[in-house]
């Protein structure tokens, strides 16, 4: 037996005592965990809790396991949202395939579980698709062809009411460092369309799809959303010299808003470029002075806000969550400044917010409800709850009162198996 894993391997060391020489489906180890509502897989997949972490184990051909291990590591290095490959176990004995070990995403949710447990009577289709499309675009910008983009191959995390999507299964993925061809992108999107329609047909057959959702409509919508986002991020624009500066700034702002960074802006004389014969059909200005803007968009992860929040508070949150927490910190700082009558440094405000607001709420989450959602999401829901309660009662109820009411009346309604962490 041969166990390859990435350092630091302390956690992986605990996995060494698992019965690797038996076929995965025959394992009876007490560390095995059943995850309900997980996605479908072509291979035997089981979950193991070891040292407080949950691992997903997938049995597959050694060549595929090594390949997927390499690709997941690469995705990780590039900062793309994907599950983390912990290791691969090969040479397990005659007739046994390899096992790929990945770390299960904490508080991750599968689409099946989201459809089976709609919160507040709202089906998540819209936000789910946005997250999936964003993930696909990020992968494409980084030169990854997914080869099997589907809801089953994605895990979702709550991200301040929206979702963040994570790439789970890199078995069919391909990395093209020099970028994807148009054909590869189209093929990938076509495949996503098919797979998503198939999965929704399947949910329908299982009685879990709300009647107003039409699988084909949704699948077509994925293509539209993808094309919209891709165009927004990559299209070439023809600019007139007069409003050049403004248009460039506007475009960059828009791209940042969408959660992406700009790697390079290239300005080309429209006439010169036309002479080279580039396709695209952007018209040059009548006076021949128009220029063409090409924007090379880069994947920004872990996003701008996420990075700032982490350096200021040590909280590791999703991008939207981070944006909202930073807003809360800014509001808290303004409140402190008003109260003290003098400027408060950012770092002081952040530290006080952490101790006096955030941690107070998080520490008072009842233990039995702690795993229902991730802590940041709970904190943000408490902020929303405070707003609702204050509006209802006509005065600010304060964060702690809102938190206690939320723990009593709202959080218990979240199904305890909605997110996969035991």
């Amino acid at each position: 037996m041969h166990f390859v894993f990435r350092p630091p391997g302390q956690a992986a060391a605990g996995l060494l005592t698992l019965p690797w020489r038996l076929p995965l489906e025959h394992w009876t180890d007490e560390r095995l965990v059943e995850i309900r509502q997980r996605g479908l897989s072509r291979h035997v997949v089981r979950f193991v809790a070891e040292g407080g972490t949950l691992y997903a184990l997938k049995e597959l051909h050694e060549r595929l396991a090594r390949r997927e291990y390499g690709l997941l590591r690469r995705l990780h290095e590039l900062g793309l949202p994907a599950v983390e490959a912990v290791g691969a176990v090969v040479d397990r004995g005659p007739d046994l395939d390899a096992i790929l070990v990945t770390r299960y995403l904490d508080h991750a949710i599968s689409y099946r579980s989201l459809f089976a447990n709609p919160r507040g009577g709202q089906h998540p289709t819209d936000r789910l698709l946005d997250a999936l499309v964003e993930l696909l675009v990020r992968l494409h910008l980084a030169g990854f062809m997914w080869g099997d983009c589907s809801l089953s191959n994605t895990l979702f995390r709550f991200d301040a009411g929206a979702f963040a999507a994570y790439h789970v299964d890199a078995e069919t993925a391909e990395l093209h460092p020099s970028g994807l061809s148009e054909g590869q992108r189209h093929y990938d999107v076509d495949l996503a369309r098919e797979r998503i329609a198939g999965e929704l047909f399947d949910l329908f057959a299982a009685g879990q799809l709300p009647p107003e959702v039409d699988p084909v409509e949704v699948a077509d919508d994925v293509v539209r959303r993808y094309e919209g986002l891709w165009d927004e991020l990559t299209r070439e624009e023809s600019l007139h010299p007069d409003d050049q500066q403004y248009r460039i700034a506007e475009r960059l702002r828009r791209i940042n808003e969408l959660g992406f960074d700009v790697d390079e802006v290239e300005l080309v004389d429209a006439d010169t470029d036309a002479a080279v014969g580039t396709e695209g059909g952007v018209e040059g200005g009548a006076d021949g002075e128009a220029i063409r803007m090409r924007v090379r968009t880069r994947v920004a992860e872990p996003g701008h806000h996420r990075r700032i929040l982490y350096t200021r508070t040590g909280i590791d949150a999703q991008e939207n969550q981070a944006r909202r927490l930073l807003n809360d910190i800014a509001a808290f700082r303004a409140h402190l400044e008003r109260e003290t009558g003098h400027p408060i440094p950012e770092v002081v405000a952040s530290n006080r917010w952490l101790a006096e607001v955030y941690e107070l709420v998080v520490q008072s989450i009842p233990d039995e409800l702690r795993g229902r959602l991730d802590e940041v999401e709970i904190f943000l829901e408490v902020l929303d709850h405070r707003w609702f309660m204050s509006e209802r009662s006509g005065k600010d109820v304060g964060t702690m009162a809102a938190a206690l009411d939320y723990f009593e009346n709202v959080l218990p309604q979240v199904p305890d198996d909605l997110t996969g962490t035991p």
């Binding site: 479908l40 072509r42 051909h61 060549r63 595929l64 080869g147 099997d148 589907s150 089953s152 069919t172 020099s178 061809s181 148009e182 054909g183 590869q184 189209h186 093929y187 076509d190 495949l191 369309r193 098919e194 797979r195 329609a197 198939g198 999965e199 047909f201 399947d202 949910l203 057959a205 299982a206 084909v216 699948a219």
Partner: protein, 440 residues
């Protein structure tokens, strides 16, 4: 249904390396074409250019009569079979097959008809109402094929579809794919690195090496009339043996002096054709050796008997392999080693592999008399790899024969198929179609 025509196709990556270099290949309507070669030969890249996944650097790709160089994959109406197939657990087999038609919003009546026809072809009719969980591995693969068939694609494309299956399922699926392809008569391009798979499945096989097309022809043509050293070494298992030889002309005639002994020059080549080459390589397949004591007098005369030291033997019941080491000049030995490495072969190149009748009593360490069917030997130019003994007339005849066999088979299938075509349109072989006079 469509022919696929590739003209001077080049794929060059950013670093300038041509992954596919000036390949011209016609896949005829309804033909089963295999692309084969060792890893890095460009076979997958070529397939991906047919699908539309890779841009074509130069050259022309046609499907039916349409140039598709700039056409998006979906618009090419091709089907990548087995690629990322997923069966949905709550959908019946019927719906699992029907789902591409549902996605295309086809009317229920048409969906029912096409799925029923497809299921009949795949012998899945009685399972249509079952769920995938209740199917065997082979049946699930057939449902996946059903999904490709029901689409009415113009051609099927397979990219090493069996490489991840276990040996048993691989054998089953190979037979299944072959049977279905013959039955449907759908133009098929199939990529594999496995020459056995290539030889058993294809109407014709295209052998690629470092992006360059080496030879395209029927399996039999590749085996019997390889164009060069590379194809000769790649096709056949165990591989052809290559013996260095010098020409020896004397009053008795012209002979080839090899490490295994002196042979008469095969009839198909003259000393003049060998010309002033100092050394040539004589290619003899393992199966063209025999234990001389088991060869009839009459047959003996057609070949040559040599004395050889047998190093190791392997008795497999239906066959006996004997290994005969020989000496070769260092430069040729190095060349043969390189070839072996390129073919991903672990065969030692300065050791002849000999397949004998299992009744033979030849054993390890013995000086044995081996008969060689020299009439079937080939002679190669070591510098260019060219096969100097290739018989062009015979190549043409083999090509005609293979094409006629394919058309006969299709006619027979067309007459026999219960539902005609499962929605693949006009796939009947045209009985009046003239087979081409040359295979390529």
């Amino acid at each position: 249904m469509a022919a696929i025509t590739m003209k001077n196709i080049v794929k060059q990556y950013g670093d300038g390396f041509p992954a596919v270099n000036d390949v011209s290949l016609d896949v005829q309507d309804g033909e089963f074409m295999i692309l084969v070669g060792p890893s890095g030969c460009g076979k997958s890249t070529l397939l991906r250019m047919i699908v539309g996944l890779e841009d074509i650097t130069s050259g022309e790709m046609k499907i039916a009569d349409r140039v598709v160089n700039k056409v998006a994959p979906r618009q090419r109406n091709l089907s990548m079979v087995f690629q990322n197939y997923a069966l949905y657990p709550h959908l019946t087999v019927f719906e699992n097959i029907a789902f591409p038609l549902r996605l295309a919003k086809k009317p229920d009546e048409e969906v029912r008809r096409r799925v029923t026809e497809t299921a009949e072809l795949l012998e899945l009719t009685e399972h249509l109402e079952r769920k995938p969980a209740n199917l065997s591995g082979g049946q699930r693969q057939r449902v996946a094929m059903g999904r490709a068939i029901v689409r009415q694609a113009d051609a099927f494309l397979f990219d090493e579809p069996l490489s991840n299956l276990d040996a048993k399922l691989r054998g089953q699926m190979r037979a299944e794919i072959s049977r279905l392809q013959r039955r449907l008569g759908v133009t098929t391009v199939y990529v594999t690195h496995d020459q056995t798979e290539a030889m058993t499945l294809g109407d014709r096989v295209a052998v690629l090496r470092k992006g360059v097309l080496q030879q395209v022809g029927s399996p039999r043509e590749l085996y019997e009339e390889p164009a060069n050293l590379f194809v000769a070494g790649f096709i056949g298992s165990p591989s052809m043996n290559f013996l260095p030889a010098t020409l020896d002309s004397s009053a008795e005639g012209t002979f080839l002096e090899t490490p295994l002994g002196r042979f008469g020059l095969p009839d198909k080549i003259t000393a003049a054709e060998i010309g002033d080459r100092d050394v040539v390589l004589v290619g003899i397949r393992p199966e063209h050796f025999e234990d001389a004591s088991l060869v009839s007098e009459e047959k003996r005369a057609r070949g040559t008997v040599v004395q050889a030291h047998v190093d190791v033997t392997e008795w497999l019941g239906n066959e006996l392999y004997a290994y005969v080491p020989y000496e070769a000049p260092e430069d040729l030995a190095a060349q043969l080693r390189d070839l072996s490495r390129e073919l991903d072969s672990d065969q030692l190149r300065t050791q002849a592999v000999v397949a004998l009748d299992p009744a033979s009593m030849i054993s390890e360490g013995q000086e044995a008399e081996l008969w060689i069917d020299t009439s079937r030997a080939h002679i190669f130019d070591p510098a260019t790899g060219e096969n100097l003994t290739r018989d062009e007339e015979r190549v043409a005849a083999l090509g005609r024969q293979a094409e006629q066999a394919r058309l006969r088979q299709r006619q027979a299938q067309a007459g026999q198929a219960p539902t005609g075509q499962a929605g693949n349109g006009a796939t009947q072989a045209k009985p009046d179609q003239e087979p081409p006079t040359s295979p390529d």
